[in-house]
Amino acid sequence: MLTLDHISYAIGNKTIFNDASAELIDHEITCLIGPNGIGKSTLFNLITQSIQPESGQIIGIPDKIALLAQKNELFEPLAVRALLTIQRDTLDEEVLNLLQLKQLLDRPIEKLSGGQRQLVWLGYVLHQEPDLLLLDEPTTYLDLYYQQIFLKALTTLQAQRGFTVLMILHDLTQAFSNSQNIWLIDANKQLITGSVTELMDETLLSETFKLPLSIVEHAGQRLIIPEL
């Protein structure tokens, strides 16, 4: 289990984390939420070890981590097939079906729409068969249709295959409905962790995002919306 053990990290004088501790539950989906600029991506960088904490340590970092970044860069005009098979020889039929990539295999990625492209990148990280999958705001640039396909495919495959997911999402309804656990960085930069039910708390969320939020029930779903 990946464990943050009293992590502190600062950029210049600006403290990002001060003595943060958390455990990432294996084989489940955890959503990382919090205001912009609070240090969510920095936490990802700590987990992938592209930066080191100033004190404390991260224990149990899995061997195979895959990362879907906010902006995924591609420097050669590859076709979808070439990207998916960059590290292996075979295509994963199930992933292709869920992500609707079958028709796109021989198309150059740069010619695809933003939504299709993000599905291709999800396909790319899934083809790595990671132990831990990190997703940094994967649905931010997608329309509702592609957001739905994206999250559906992700949760379906996660349930079947049991890899661990840590995902940054800004849409709180999406975050709570697509995961089992929540990591929340509140306005005081404290890392609060718990199950989805534990953290489904109007006061906590409203204070974190400095905005009055309501939790409403609609058609069996719990929606988190700003008070208008």
């Binding site: 860069e73 420097f75 590859l78 076709a79 070439a82 590290q87």
Partner: protein, 309 residues
């Protein structure tokens, strides 16, 4: 489609080699060669063959250096000439030969080594994720500086600069040795080259040793660009343009698939530029590098305007 395209290029290259063998200030006839006239064979062996080999091998080396550099720098607008490496190794080689004249006959090997040294220095001092335009402008300023230094040295010491018209068998062998060494290094990095389509962070997560590969690739590029410069002089923009031509033809291929067409295009252009240079106003020989620049310059402008990254 892909294969057919390479076959066409290879066929064109074979025809061009034939033309280069027979055409020139003295025309060779095929019948004379076939009948075994010794004069004809002497001309072919002493002058035409080394020149053709150098043009074919040198063109391929420029093309492959271009792709390698563009891949590892993740920048489709650079090559060794634009970064100033070709002019730099030309000047450095010149200095070494002026100071140690007994090394004159090993000039291709020395130029290759100079290329490697310069590219490694360049890597350590300049390359720190600069913007494309800044990189290109710094490179061109470097190139121009070295060019003027070269000019001052050649005029001052009366040392002639190399050109295709003075190629000897000894130089040809040196170039072939450089080719073989480079290819051996290329085999080491070959399986990992495709990963440079991704950014450094992804490479780290995939556990690809990017930094080690970068140094190996820079060594190959330095060796080849230096050696080619030692034989032909500086050929501007060609290495930047050749990979783009092959990318246009095979746009979705992994990087490895670009090597063959790029090499073939390089050989074709260099060989035919040389043939043109020595035939159009024969018996006067034009410099092949100038003919090439007249082609690659406008192509590079087109590349910039088309908005390559």
């Amino acid at each position: 489609m892909h294969k057919a395209y390479n076959v066409i290029l290879a066929a064109a290259l074979i025809i061009s080699i034939g033309a280069a063998l027979l055409l020139g200030s003295t025309h060779l006839s095929l019948t004379a060669l076939l009948q075994g006239h010794s004069d004809a064979w002497q001309l072919a062996i002493n002058y035409r063959f080394p020149r053709i080999i150098v043009a074919v091998v040198g063109g391929a080396m420029i093309g492959m250096s271009g792709i390698l550099l563009q891949l590892v720098l993740r920048n489709h607008l650079v090559d060794a000439s634009i970064l100033g490496i070709m002019n730099g190794s030309q000047f450095l080689t010149l200095c070494i030969i002026v100071m140690l004249p007994f090394l004159t006959n090993a000039n291709v090997i020395i130029a290759g080594i100079c290329g490697v040294i310069l590219l490694l220095i360049w890597r350590l001092c300049i390359l720190k994720q600069r913007s494309t335009m800044q990189l290109i402008l710094v490179g061109i300023a470097t190139a121009m500086t070295f060019q003027s230094l070269t000019q001052l040295t050649t005029t001052g010491f009366g040392v002639p600069l190399p050109s295709l018209s003075t190629v000897t068998w000894s130089q040809t062998w040196q170039l072939l040795v450089m080719l073989v060494i480079g290819i051996m290094l290329l085999i080491l990095v070959w399986p990992n080259l495709k990963y440079f389509a991704l950014n450094s962070e992804q490479l780290r997560l995939l556990k690809v040793p990017e930094s080690r590969m970068l140094y190996l690739v820079l060594a190959i590029v330095g060796l080849w660009s230096g050696a080619v410069t030692g034989l032909l002089g500086v050929i501007f923009f060609l290495g930047a343009v050749l990979p783009q031509i092959s990318r246009l033809m095979a746009p979705q291929a992994k990087a490895q698939a670009l090597f063959l067409p790029t090499s073939l295009w390089g050989s074709l252009l260099l060989l035919n530029a040389d043939t043109i240079a020595r035939t159009v106003v024969a018996p006067t020989e034009l410099p092949a590098s100038a003919v090439l620049l007249a082609i690659s310059g406008p192509l590079f402008i087109l590349l910039l305007i088309k908005g390559g990254r």
